[in-house]
């Protein structure tokens, strides 16, 4: 189908974009990559009165890496982040982006757009939640930085208020001797995951687990972060019984069933994926040390 009519705005500065968004209020929607918003418009599941296309606003496509992490601007496309040498400082970004849709979709879709869209099956919200990152929101007259734990408020719901533009997201770096991995199962390659797990493991000098965390997708209204350090550590990573960690994860999640998978199957799958992701993350942490 075709999108319903709307007033189109194509601001060319950040100030102009925030002005237009402030005036549009709850009737305004930001258009970034359009890879989620335009399908919704085409299917007539959304009918905003004003579309604010930010694609011409300069300075929003930055990808900056510092000691403490990687900041990704609102117009940094999935593909640009995937290829960026700056973002390579945080391998989890690339590990997750490979699983987001298809290369052609990733040429337009943005990382920040994925976060604001807040699909509970999407990979990037899980990455932000796992790393304890944040999203910077700008409005006419001020900015605020919202932590991942407060940003995702429900399925397809975020803390973004009418009039606000998410200008960037910050993905914090992990301590030394850390490794990450992302595993998921989807019906077809490139589809949203039936279940998926991102893991981060940190080892000490004797290669024992000192921290282990997972973020699970498609098993709750928002990404579910589970700290499994006590279930894993502080045994040597090589011998760590990931089964206990998987059991802890299975206990914590509250999946729902749908036509793709029953709740029990999702719970089982999440446990299996947690073992794989934790094992690979530990191996990566070990590799970094070697």
């Amino acid at each position: 189908m075709k999108p319903p009519p709307f007033d189109y705005h194509g601001p060319v500065t950040l100030g102009e974009a925030l002005d237009v968004l402030a005036e549009a209020g709850p009737d305004g929607k930001v258009l970034a990559g359009g890879q989620s918003l335009i399908p919704l418009l085409n299917m007539r599941l959304a009918a905003p009165a004003h579309i604010v296309d930010v694609n011409r606003v300069p300075g929003l496509d930055g990808i900056e890496a510092g000691q403490d992490g990687v900041r990704v601007g609102a117009l940094a496309r999935h593909a640009a982040v995937e290829r960026s040498p700056e973002a390579a400082a945080l391998p989890l970004l690339r590990q997750a982006l490979r699983l987001v849709a298809h290369p052609v979709i990733r040429n337009r879709g943005t990382v920040v757009g994925s976060l604001v869209h807040a699909d509970p099956s999407a990979e990037m919200p899980a990455v932000l939640a796992l790393l304890g990152g944040s999203v910077r929101l700008a409005a006419r007259g001020g900015e605020r930085e919202v932590a991942a734990a407060d940003f995702f408020t429900g399925p397809m719901e975020s803390a973004l208020r009418p009039g606000e533009l998410a200008v960037s997201a910050f993905f914090p770096a992990l301590p030394g001797r850390s490794g990450t991995a992302f595993h998921e199962v989807s019906r077809r390659h490139g589809d949203y995951a039936v279940a998926g797990v991102a893991a981060a493991v940190t080892l000490d000098e004797d290669l024992r687990v000192t921290a282990a965390r997972v973020a699970c997708v498609s098993v709750g209204p928002v990404p579910v972060v589970v700290d499994v350090t006590t279930a894993c550590g502080p045994r040597p990573a090589g011998s760590a019984g990931w089964e206990a960690a998987a059991a802890a994860v299975r206990d914590r999640i509250e999946p729902e069933g749908d036509i793709h998978a029953t709740a029990d199957y999702r719970r089982h799958l999440t446990g299996v994926l947690a073992v794989r992701a934790l094992r690979d993350a530990a191996a990566a942490a070990h590799g970094e040390e070697a």
Binding site: K2, P3, Y8, R108
Partner: protein
Amino acid sequence: MNETRHRVTLKVNGVVREATVPGRRLLSDCLRHDLGLTGTHVGCEHGVCGACTVLLDGEPVRSCLMFAVTADGHEITTVEGLARGDGEPSPVQRAFSECHALQCGFCTPGFLCAVTAFLRDNPAPSEEEALEAVSGNLCRCTGYQNILKAVHRAAEIQASEIQAAEIQAEEGGA
């Protein structure tokens, strides 16, 4: 209802084209209806099938998931622009024809655009890379085996053409 219309200028297949469209005009519809370039096909209009894939400044994108106004000022290549100036089919087009990589042809424009950009960036892909490259495009009748064969055959044709051009340049220079 009187919708505001926007003037957009696109460089399509090397030619500057103008259209006056409402904000909600999809790039796919602008190409097909406003500019008469019906080679770009429309299957699902929600990003799943890939039939509408075109090149935006050289990069493959879904034209059904972009507004024509957003593309204002950019360069678009559609399936009509893949053949050479003299009408000779491109290596990817020749490979699809040689390998029987199409039946009804509905999906073909999207595959051709996606594969053209893919082989430009990765001229000698592995089996797995080729599979990933076409995995975002659906074909309901050919089956994917011949399409995959065509991707590799196109890489071959492209490589031999580059080699031939190099030999010619050397001979010309001698």
